[in-house]
């Protein structure tokens, strides 16, 4: 039993569970303080997503977006690069994808892939300047990527207002993505699944991006752990000087890691515009800015952990939405919970301390018991 608790994986798993428990308890305490009906609110928060099919759909839709963002951050964090301009990349690639999907005169079989491609090209190019500045000049990619983020939001608004705005719309938005370019449901068109398929496609927007997400997770895993490129990324992340002596082109690896992560952020943006909002709307990526980091830290920066972490945080996001509609508590509670969990998980010395206290207590208790027996 003791060996079981000593194993590293079990420990880090327990650590995550403990952090999540503390975070959710913290959220509950806050709810108790601010809400007139805390039980209603927290019940909606924790169980809301399961209550209806369309809410289950919301949960899965959120999780899909989070998976792509989490993978993007996992790659840059593996190289110890703090490139966190995902929101900007995401929104610009949503714009590019949406524009191609709406306006390109071509059959959907060509248009949809090209729309995805356009999103990826834009997201990768958008990361180019911060990546080059970091690799070749050493300019803080954290600051530059955030600056580019803000610029991306402005550029997005400008392009949307000037070129894509739907006249007479009540809001800043483009026209809808045509039916044939929207992403269809993930449930295959088989006779015995027809009823489920109809119910799901009516109530939810869970599209075949499910399969793309699974593929992306595997791709990111293989890329990081089974290829030379991934080895170089991790070597640079572990110790850039050492990697350099080992003959790795550190600068090129840094640039490449940031650019490759852009492909995943682009998938998040394309997913958003083709499956969720189904048009280009002002503020469509709002509140996704930090999610990639949350997911990466919760999953231990491991691509295979990303889907689990995403399903969890996607669940909380969907739950917070239900809570806001059902009670007087705002959905921003989820960010507060996530921030608490993030702090707890990055605090290397915090949870081991708790653990130590617990184990020494147990040892003491055991000794006392022995003593009393004697």
């Amino acid at each position: 039993m003791k060996k079981f608790f000593d194993s590293k994986n079990v420990r880090s798993f327990l650590r995550i569970v403990l952090a999540l428990t503390i975070g959710l308890t913290f959220g509950f305490v806050i709810t108790l303080i601010v809400s007139d009906e805390p039980m209603v609110a927290y019940k909606a928060f924790l169980f809301g997503p399961l209550s209806q099919l369309n809410r289950i759909g919301d949960w899965l839709e959120e999780s899909l977006t989070l998976i792509f963002l989490g993978l993007a951050i996992t790659i840059v964090f593996s190289a110890k690069q703090f490139y966190i301009g995902l929101e900007g990349q995401m929104i610009l690639s949503a714009l590019a994808t949406g524009a191609v999907a709406i306006y390109m005169p071509a059959p959907p079989i060509i248009r949809v892939p090209l729309a995805f491609l356009a999103g990826m090209v834009v997201a990768v190019l958008w990361a180019l300047i911060p990546a080059l500045l970091k690799a070749y000049l050493g300019a803080s990619e954290l600051v530059t990527s955030l600056m580019f983020n803000t610029m991306a939001l402005r550029l997005f608004e400008f392009l949307l207002r000037t070129y894509l705005q739907l006249p007479n719309a009540n809001g800043i938005m483009s026209e809808r993505v045509p039916e044939d370019a929207r992403l269809r449901t993930f449930i295959p068109n088989l006779p015995f699944l027809e009823e489920t398929r109809n119910a799901w496609s009516k109530a939810t927007n869970v599209s075949w991006m499910v399969y793309v997400a699974i593929g992306a997770v595997l791709l990111a895993y293989i890329l990081l752990y089974k290829t030379k490129f991934g080895y170089e990324i991790r070597a640079v992340g572990a110790n850039a000087k050492f990697a350099k002596y080992g003959g790795i082109n550190v600068k090129r690896t840094i640039v490449a890691s940031i650019l490759v992560s852009g492909v995943f952020s682009a998938l998040a943006g394309s997913h958003l515009v083709l499956a969720i909002t189904e048009r280009i709307v002002q503020g469509m990526a709002f509140g996704f800015g930090f999610e990639g980091i949350n997911i990466s830290i919760l999953s231990g920066n491991n691509p295979l952990g990303v889907p689990i972490a995403s399903l969890f945080y996607g669940y909380l996001r969907a739950g917070s939405d239900v809570m806001e509609r059902a009670s007087d508590v705002s959905r921003e509670l989820v960010f507060v919970v996530q921030a608490a969990v993030l702090l707890l998980l990055t605090a290397e010395r915090l949870l081991p301390v708790v653990q130590q206290v617990v184990t020494t207590d147990e040892e003491e208790a055991a000794q006392l018991e022995k003593g009393s027996v004697k």
Partner: protein
């Protein structure tokens, strides 16, 4: 012709005055960031701390009706949030960047969450009758034709901001604490052997940085505007960090960098009235920050290469003379 001339004069006076006013919320976080960075604990949560300062100031002023109590509360909030970061980083070994990002997430989510709980709004507090700090009219200077309007009549925060540069300078170069901070920032191990309590100095540095960042936030919500808006810091905390980088950890160069960014901000405001798409114009301060960082990095690189060359040639001579 004369009228044109006069108009231009007024225009430029107005513009220079706006530069000085708009600099304020950048100078404060820059100075806060400077103190923390000098002590070797760059504060990556300036942006979030600004939000808490702005938020607390607005709500306390609205509920108590006392501006100065509100400013005090805002500063305390800033210090508390900075100490949260300090505990996470120094006590529990969180990564500096990640802990900073966590605090920022906590701040941008937490302020909106509380705003909604308190007044049922998510965008801003325009429904709330909050107060703003008074403007200061400097006697005599106010009456000087051109200089007066530029230098006088700004919110009190603006004067505190420029004054704080001097305070920081004195703190860093003329006090025991400042020397300790720089020693800790330079080489913590060496500082420890000299008997300096490294953690204590870094705690104090982070608390000071929280204090100044909160002032920066309040200069947005209690002077520049008279309300709190979600995400109202709008990257100024990060621009402050960039200014500290550019200023190479010295107060005056950091001030100059902050003012360059403030100038870009004011320029964006000014051009906003022209027939240029406002969204593109609003990008100017952020683009300026990126360019500033790039230029600084190029220069740093050049200095480093030259130093290396000097070192190499000196050692080459040494080696050559030894060989003889």
């Amino acid at each position: 012709m004369t009228l044109d001339f006069v108009l231009r004069g007024i225009f430029s006076t107005f513009f220079l005055a706006s530069v000085i006013r708009i600099c304020t919320p950048i100078i404060f976080p820059s100075m806060g960031g400077l103190v923390a960075a000098a002590a070797g604990v760059s504060n990556m949560a300036l942006e979030g701390i600004m939000l808490w300062g702005a938020f607390t100031g607005v709500f306390v002023s609205a509920y108590t009706g006392n501006v100065w109590l509100a400013v005090l509360a805002g500063c305390l909030a800033g210090i508390l949030v900075a100490l949260l970061l300090a505990v996470a980083h120094l006590q529990f070994g969180s990564d500096r960047f990640l802990a900073g990002l966590a605090v920022n997430l906590f701040s941008s989510g937490g302020t909106v969450f509380l705003m909604y709980s308190l007044i049922g709004e998510k965008g801003n507090t325009s429904t709330l009758a909050s107060l703003s700090v008074p403007n200061v009219v400097i006697p005599f200077i106010h009456d000087i034709p051109v200089l007066g309007p530029i230098l006088s009549g700004h919110p009190v925060f603006t004067y505190i901001a420029f004054f704080s540069v001097w305070v920081i300078y004195i703190l860093m170069y003329r006090t025991r604490l400042g020397v300790h901070m720089r020693a800790v920032g330079e080489n913590p191990a060496a500082a420890t052997t000299l008997g300096i309590n490294v953690h204590r100095v870094q705690y104090i540095a982070l608390a000071i940085s929280g204090f100044f960042a909160a002032l920066g936030g309040m200069s947005l919500s209690m002077a520049y505007l008279q309300m709190f808006q979600r995400e109202m810091a709008a990257g100024r905390g990060w621009i402050g960090i960039a200014a500290v980088n550019l200023g190479a950890l010295r107060p005056i160069p950091t001030l100059i960098a902050a003012m360059v960014f403030g100038f870009a901000d004011a320029l964006a405001n000014q051009l906003g009235s022209l027939n240029i798409p406002s969204q593109l114009v609003q990008s100017i301060p952020y683009a300026t920050t990126v360019i500033g960082l790039a230029v600084y990095s190029i220069q740093q690189r050049r200095v480093a290469i030259e130093r290396q060359k000097k070192y190499a040639s000196a050692h080459y001579e040494e080696a050559a003379s030894e060989a003889e």
